[in-house]
């Protein structure tokens, strides 16, 4: 019979098969945002499941639907647990919010291009992470990995922006990171009376960076699109090459492997060609409205 082109021997990159995972614990982070610790019910899968910083899972509440959520926990946990930090923004996240510890949901993944740590590892690069709001969640696995492989990198900076001090994610953990040698800077749009730090948007923190080794620095940016846009502009003004700047894009991911068409952004299927995209590729598309 007419045969389909020879099928590649590479293992299946993605599938519609969801696997039941149990909610092991729930940590309320800030208003409407919680971190869920999950574990696959199938012990074999729990043991073998691996992901890289920047990748996402499709979380599934049967009867309600799926939602793409980035990993926010350590990439190489031996416990088989993985973390997702989720803000309630729509139907599915509302339904996840209604779940309790011990209940199950479906998980497919991991999907997507990770942050390009392998490109910079062991080459003495400085890495700056720039997070806006919940954009810190997909960057947290990077922090874990950088700390674990501290010797392979130079200076590590984390610039965080939030709407207000009470909206700063992972605040306690950040203090611990600070004491293990990560340069942390925070800024808020609106200060309260206890706030003594910077007020303003994240790009301002980039503008103020000093001593950046222009040929030895990578910057990973995650947050609202407009924040990523201005952050990249600031970084370029500072002298960074667009190819050293990476952003994580949000689009309507549904299948996770480039078949359903929802997440297209120009020629990219952001579910598999992203979500992490190099700025020189992202810039031309971000300039086009409604692309």
């Amino acid at each position: 019979m007419t045969i389909a082109p020879s099928l590649s021997p590479v293992p299946q990159q993605g599938s519609w098969q969801s696997h039941p995972a149990e909610i092991v614990s729930i940590l309320e982070e800030i208003e409407t945002v919680s971190t869920y610790r999950m574990r696959f019910r199938d012990p074999e899968l729990a043991r073998s499941y691996r992901f890289k910083a920047g990748q996402f899972n499709m979380l599934y509440v049967p009867g309600c639907g799926e939602v793409a959520i980035s990993h926010s926990g350590p990439p190489d946990s031996d416990t088989g647990d993985f973390l997702h930090t989720i803000r309630v923004v729509g139907r599915v996240t509302e339904a996840i919010r209604a779940l309790e510890v011990g209940e199950t949901l479906g998980v497919r993944g991991p999907f997507g291009n990770p942050w390009p740590l392998e490109t910079y590892r062991g080459r003495g690069f400085d890495v700056f992470l720039v997070a806006g709001g919940l954009g810190l969640a997909p960057l947290r696995p990077v922090v874990y990995q950088l700390l674990k492989e501290r010797d392979h990198y130079g200076r590590i900076g984390l610039l965080i922006g939030a709407r207000s001090p009470s909206m700063l994610l992972y605040s306690e953990e950040i203090r611990a990171w600070e004491s293990s040698g990560i340069e942390i800077q925070r800024t808020v749009d609106r200060a309260d009376q206890d706030w003594h730090g910077s007020v303003g948007t994240v790009p301002l923190l980039i503008d103020r960076l000093r001593g950046v080794r222009l040929d030895r620095t990578a910057m990973f940016v995650c947050g609202p699109e407009v924040m990523m846009h201005y952050s990249a502009q600031s970084a370029i003004r500072l002298g960074l090459d667009p190819s050293a700047i990476w952003v994580s894009m949000e689009r309507n991911m549904q299948c996770g492997f480039g078949h359903c068409g929802h997440c297209q952004w120009g020629s990219l299927f952001l579910c598999k060609d992203g979500p992490v995209v190099r700025w020189d590729s992202a810039f031309s598309k971000m300039r086009v409205r409604d692309l």
Binding site: M1, L7, T104, G106, Q264
Partner: protein, 405 residues
Amino acid sequence: MTPIHLGNNSDATSTSSKSSSNHTQDRNQWPHGFLPKEQFPAFIDLLNQSFDEVIGPRVDQGAIVYDAIRSASELPHGWTDVQSPGVYRLERKSSIDDSRTDHSCEEEYFGYNVGPHSWKKYLFPPLTTLMKSKKTTDGWQMEMTAEPIKRRVLLGVRACELAAIAIQDKVFLTSGTVDPIYQTRRNHLLIIAVNCTQAASTCFCTSMNSGPECRSGFDLAMTELSDGFLVEVGSDAGQTIFESLKLRTVTTDEIDRGRTRRARAVEQITKRMNTDGIRDRLLSQLENPHWNDIASRCLSCANCTMVCPTCFCSSVDEVHALTDDEIVRQRRWDSCFNVDISHLSGGPVRDTIRSRYRQWLTHKLATWIDQFDTSGCVGCGRCITWCPVGIDLTKEVATLCEESS
């Protein structure tokens, strides 16, 4: 005739991927034969005996659609169609045929042009079940559903449609992830192509280099003459069938008549699209004001994407049964013309008809090339005919790109 057994291998991959790759180079090494019209009904019967389903053209709802064909009498013998932007009319062939044919007013089985259906519905079904979840005392259990295997014949596949299948093969089989539903259906297919001997006013396959002559991707290809069919083999499976038919060899006259008829299709194609550098030309026009003009006419109804043989967008719905705790995930054809397709928590990314039409056209003709190393358009003209307001993409491309120079 006794039913043909093509072996019980569902995985014919190993045998025929080789032969199909040889095919394009050594096309003339495959045998040709002549199937007289009198024997054609028996051939359809044989196919029905040998396969679970023979899908072919038939007249229904005022058009020629693709559906199960049990006998040759169900084929649209003597029917043809007249098409223009937004208009399709079924006609008796005798009423419009012209003097250029070798036998004018000849009633043919395949004397029509591509219609509202495409073969896509048999490979990438419009609605299909993906997964089932069951609530147990120990939480949700989830398993993929599998559909029963059906061995199908696609009868009457045109060159542009072979090209469309080759494009969806890239999307669903070789772009990194294999779609198991598509793969299973694809691997159990016998493709009998038919060379076009006429064209509609909406056809432009010559511009897309996808027709009108069938060159590869089939098991058998036929050219209809007044008294029979020239039959050409395109694969090992096709060869097996060819041998069982015990056809006589073709005469020089028959070869000439076939060539004349195929040439008639080429002559009748009047629509053109300039594809030279089309990717860059279109992508340099993303802010062209003409998109607004198109948006004033486009209804964003998605008909073009539904009839397109290569469009592949889909969404998944949850289907409950109230009576138990079972949930089914069902995949359906979706479209870039739907507001919801680009939904984000902050609202849709493409919130205007302008941006959605632009997405469709630039994807089809430009970014598709980046993604799959081929255009997403095969020039079948369905989106032109079946657009209820008759938007013609070739005209829009010409306007968009002309304003650049």
